[in-house]
Amino acid sequence: MPHCAPLLPRRRAKRAAVPRHLVRLATALAITLGGARVLSAQTLEDAEMLQRREVHASVTYASEGWSEYWEGTLRRSNGNVGEVTTQSVGLRVGVGVGQRLTVIGSLPYVWTEASQGVLHGMSGRQDLTLLAKYRVANPLIAGRVRLKLLAVGGLSTPTSDYTPDFLPLSIGSHSKSAITRLATHLQDRTGWFFDGYAERVWRSNVTLDRASYFSDGHYYETNEVAMPDVAMYRGTLGWQRGAWCIPVGVSAQRTLGGADIRRQDMPFVSNRMNATTAHAEVMYFLPRTSNLRLDLGAAHTITGRNVGRSTAFMTGFTYAFHL
C-alpha cells in the first residue's frame, strides 16, 4: 500500500504526527475464495515508516463478494453457493520503534455466507500478523525524488481453531506463515508517488480433521496437507495533495504449487490460488482533527485461478498519536 505522507522533505513534527499512512485494502483483499488471499490479508502493505513513538491505530470493515470463480482456469458460477460473501472487521496497530524500524500487528474477525444452497457460513477470529519493517536506505535522487528501500519480515498465526476444510466458506487456511519482502517507495515533490514490492510467503503445513484427502492427482492417507508457498507482487501509483490521497494499483498473487480445483469439485486449502487484482483507494484526512483519517477502498479480481472473481469494498478509520 502506498503511504500518503506529507511532501518531502519529511518534517519532524512535534505535535501529534500528521497521519501519514497506514491502511490498505488489507482485510478487503484479504479473503477471497475461502482463504486464498489470507496471506495478503495480514500483509500490511504500505512502505511507510512511522516516526519513533508514533502510533497508528486502525479499525477497518471490509466486505467482499463473488458470484463467479475460477475452477482451475474455467470461469463459472455455481448455483449451490450463489454469491459468497466474506465480511471482516479488523484491528491494526502500527508503532514506530525507531526512525528505521516500524512494527505492525493486525487481527481480523471474519464471517462468511453463501446466498444460495445449504452450506453453513463460518465465522471466527482469524490470524494474528506481526510485521517488522526495516528501512535499509533512504536517498534523495537528483535532489527531488526520495527513494526508500525496505526489508520487511513477519509472522502470522491463527488465533482460533477454525477449520480450513470447508472451502469456500472457511475463514482462512489455518496455516502459520512467515513473510519476507523487499519494498520500495518513490515520491517526488509534486505529490506523485510509487510503491512496489515483491514478497515470498512461506506457509506451514496444515492439519485436517480427516485422515485422507485427494490433491494433485494423489489420494493422501494422512491428515497433513503440504501448503505451497506464495509469491506476491504489488505496484501502486498514487497522488497526494492536501487532505486527499488517491492510490491506484495492481497486485498479483502467485501460489508456487498446488493443484487446480477439479471439475465440479470443492476448492481445497492447498489449491494453486492465483489472482491479479486491481485496487483503488481514497484517503481523506478529516479536517477538524488532523490525526484522524478516513479510508475508502475497492478492489476487483481481474483474473485468477482457483479463486473467486471478487469485488471488495473497505472502509476504515486510522487514528495517529505519539506515545
Binding site: 519513533r52 513513538r53 448455483g79 449451490n80 450463489g82 508503532v95 520503534v97 525507531g98 524500524l101 512494527v103 444460495q116 444452497g117 445449504v118 452450506l119 453453513h120 457460513g121 506481526l130 510485521l131 517488522a132 526495516y134 526489508a151 520487511v152 519480515g153 513477519g154 509472522l155 481453531d161 477449520t163 476444510d165 470447508f166 512467515a178 513473510i179 519476507t180 515470498r200 512461506w202 506451514s204 503445513n205 485436517l208 480433521d209 480427516r210 485422515a211 485422507s212 484427502y213 485427494f214 492427482g217 494423489h218 489420494y219 493422501y220 492417507e221 494422512t222 497433513e224 496437507v225 503440504a226 501448503m227 508457498d229 477439479r262 471439475r263 465440479q264 469439485d265 470443492m266 506515545l323
Partner: protein, 518 residues
Amino acid sequence: MPSMKGARIVALAMLGIAVLVSSCDKSIVEPNASLPPVEAASVDANAGSWKMIVLSGPDQVVVPDPTPVTGAAYQAELQAVKTAQANMTDAQRAAVRYWTGAGVLRWNEIERELVARYNLPPAPRADGSYPLPDAENPFSDPVFPFSNPPYAARAYSYVSVAQYEALKAAWYWKFRFNRLSPARNDPAVATAVAASALPSYPSEDAVLSGVTAEMLKLLFPASLEEITRKAAEEREAAILSGRATASDVAAGLALGKSIAALVINRARADGMSTAPGNPAMWKSLSDAAAARGETPWQSQETPARAPLLMNFGTVKAWTMTAAQVTALEPGAPPSTSSQQMKDELATVKNTIDNLTRDQLAIALKWNDGAGTATPPGHWNAIASDYVRDARMSEVRAARVYAMLNMAMHDVAVGCWDTKMKFFNPRPAQLDPSIKTMIGLPNFPAFPSGHSTFSGAAATTLSYFFPQARASFDAMADEAGISRLYGGIHYPSDIREGKAHGTRIGEWVLNVARADGAN
C-alpha cells in the same frame, strides 16, 4: 517507553525468523507408505477347499502342469531370477519393498485412490440438465465413473470377491503341484523375506495382478494405463523378490485373468446398468410419496439433480435374494407430518445452531463426500490397519475384504431401496434455516447410508478382529452421529441405519462362518 530497545530486538528477530523458517521441510509422509514385509503366521494350506462365491469350484479354471524343477527350462528361469536380482535398479528395489507389504493391501489402497479420483458428480450443462457418465466414453466430461458411495461399495466388493476367488483357486493349484519357491529350489536366490513354505506355482502375486487389473479396468476404465503399470510392477516384483519364476508368473497371470472374466460376467448382468434410473422413475417415486400423504424428497441442488442411482436398490446382492434384501430393510420413517418428525427436525436445528468444535471435527472426519474414497472406502482403510498387523496370508486377507465389502454392497442395495421407497426429505428441505456443515448428499434421507455402511462394517470386522469389537462399534456410532452434527440426517435415520447395517453384517457372517476357513 523503556521497552523500545527490546521491541527493536524483537522486530529484528522476526525478520530473521521469517527468513530462517522459509527453509523448513514440508514433505508429507503417509503412515502406510512403507509397510513391513508380510510374513504370514500360516500359509493356509487348505484355502483351496474354502467355499467359492462365484466360481463352481477351485478347479473351474484349469492350470496346466508346471515343468519339473529339475528340467532345463526351470533351471534357466532360476538363472534369470538371479540375473535380474543382480541388476536391480533403485526403482525396482522400491517396487519390491512396496509389494512385499502385501498385494491385497496394496491393491485395496490403490482402489481407494481410484474411487477418490472419480468421486465427483457431473457438472450441470448450460441448460440445467446433467450429463450421465458413459462407460463407453470414459475420458470425456463427465468422466466415467462417478464413484459415489453405492458405485464404490459395489466396486470394492467386485474387486475383493474376485481376488478372494482367484486366490482360493491359486491355493488349490499351488498345493496340488507343490512347486517350491525359487529360493527353496536354489539357495542362491535372494529373498526379500524369509522364503515361505507356500508353493510358487502359480504365483499368488501374478494371480492378484491379473484378476485385480481386469476388475479395475472394468470399473475405472479411464485409468487403464496406471492400473496396467501397477499390475506389471507387481509381477516383476514377484520375480525380483525371489518368490516366483517366469512360469509361476505366467500361470498366475492367466489364472487371475480367467477368473476375472467369470466375475465380470456376473457384473455385466447384476442390474448396475439400470441403476441411474430415469426421469419417469424419479417422478413416480415422488408421486408415490405424495400419494401416501408425505412430503416427497426434493433435490436441494441448483439446478435440481436426479437422486443418486435411484434404481440401485434393484442391483443384485452377493449373499441374499431380492426378497431377503427387502425382508431385512427398516420399516417406515416417522411421517413428515408427525410430531416425532417435528421433534427430530428441532433436534437437527438445535444441534447445528450449537455445534461445538469437537462435533464439527467429527462431522468433517466422517464427511467422506465428493473426492474421497466414500464411507465404504473409509471402512476399507480402517480394515487395512488391522489386516496389516494380523500377519495374514494373502488369501486370508482377501477373505476379510471380501466379507467386509460384500456386506457393504448388500447393505447399500437395501439402503438405496429403502431410501427410494420412502423418498424422505432432508432436514434442510423441511426447514430451510438449517444449513449444513458438510455437503448435502443428493438423495433421500432415510436411512442414513453412513450408518448402514458402518453398522455392516463394524459387525463384519468384529468377527475377524474380535479384540477390537468395542472400537469398531464406537467408530460406527461416531460415523452415524457425524451426520447429525453435519446437519444432514435425523436421529431416526441414524438409529435405523445402524440397525439395518448390523442385520446385514450378521447375515454375511453366516457366509463367513460356513466357508471352511476357520
